[in-house]
């Protein structure tokens, strides 16, 4: 619970910070806090991915962008009342929607009883892999992982097309 409060505090810092270097540092702190919260929620694979990707690669990418552009955010031209109302209105709708979710940690909800838990029983006899997340990712839902790899490939090609300087041929 302390972790989640720290997350909220870091988010307020990201909103209010005007120097983009401070925002980069706060992104790193936010990623690590999110990874710790995910470990508390028993999602160890996801926590490792979030820590390495969020705190490692995201920070490097934003720093690279700041190296090529400006470092300070200009002060706002008009006060942001309408966005604040939009945000609070969306928050109210979200409270109404999320209140329909079952209570935290229950074992007999529809999420936790059908296909998801059947993977735990089927994984070792059918594939011989104890880490159920890896076996679902690579074997039971391998087609999704192919699509994800294609997305990474497309993003890499896109960035190379936008940013690579080719030597001019004489």
């Amino acid at each position: 619970m302390v972790l989640l409060t720290l997350l909220a505090a870091v988010t307020i810092g990201i909103i209010r910070a005007r120097s983009l270097f401070a925002v980069v540092v706060l992104i790193g702190a936010y990623s690590f806090l999110m990874a710790s919260a995910m470990i508390v929620l028993d999602a160890v694979d996801v926590a490792m991915t979030e820590a390495s990707v969020g705190a490692g690669i995201s920070t490097v990418l934003v720093l690279g962008t700041l190296y090529l552009t400006k470092v300070h955010e200009a002060p706002p031209r008009y006060t942001a009342l309408l966005p604040l109302f939009v945000a609070i209105g969306t928050g109210a709708v979200l409270v109404y929607g999320i209140s329909g979710l079952p209570e935290f940690g229950a074992a007999h909800t529809p999420v936790n009883t059908h296909v998801g838990m059947s993977y735990m029983d089927r994984s070792v006899p059918e594939t011989g892999i104890p880490n159920v997340v890896t076996s679902v990712l690579a074997s039971y839902r391998g087609f999704d992982t192919l699509g994800e790899t294609a997305v990474i490939f497309t993003a890499g090609i896109g960035v190379l097309m936008l940013l690579k300087r080719f030597k001019a041929k004489d």
């Binding site: 995910m38 929620l41 028993d42 979030e50 945000a87 979200l94 074992a107 998801g116 735990m120 070792v124």
Partner: protein, 121 residues
């Protein structure tokens, strides 16, 4: 339950809503393009929390089959969120590359100044 007890029991969801609203506010109200992308990634991470919270079972362990444990947390949300995290960083990389090119073309990364410059042409 009393209101205080109910808030503490569902604290995950309150923080998730707060993070989502904060991310949305940053995207809608800030004019600096880099800050907008940061807000978008903030919004995405709050959605990861929203997905993982119902998958946890109190008293369970991470979903790796081992001796002596019988109650495991649900592995299916973990798989979906793993894909989502990597897709999120790919989107961030492309967005930042676009910001760099916009900066080289217009000389600025503030939306107001870019719109002024476009209207003048």
């Amino acid at each position: 339950m009393t209101l205080a007890a109910e808030i503490i029991a569902n604290y995950n969801y309150w923080i998730t809503i707060f993070l989502m609203v904060a991310g949305l506010y940053i995207v809608v109200s800030r004019t600096n393009l880099v800050k907008t992308l940061v807000g978008l990634s903030l919004f995405q991470t709050s959605v990861y929390l929203l997905f993982l919270s119902p998958g946890k079972i109190l008293g369970g362990t991470p979903p790796i089959v081992a001796e002596g444990f019988t109650v495991y947390s649900n592995p299916l949300p973990h798989v979906l969120i793993l894909t989502a995290i990597v897709v999120g960083v790919a989107t961030l990389a492309l967005g930042l590359a676009l910001v760099v090119r916009i900066n080289e073309t217009f000389g600025t990364i503030e939306e107001d100044e870019i719109i002024d410059r476009l209207e003048r042409e």
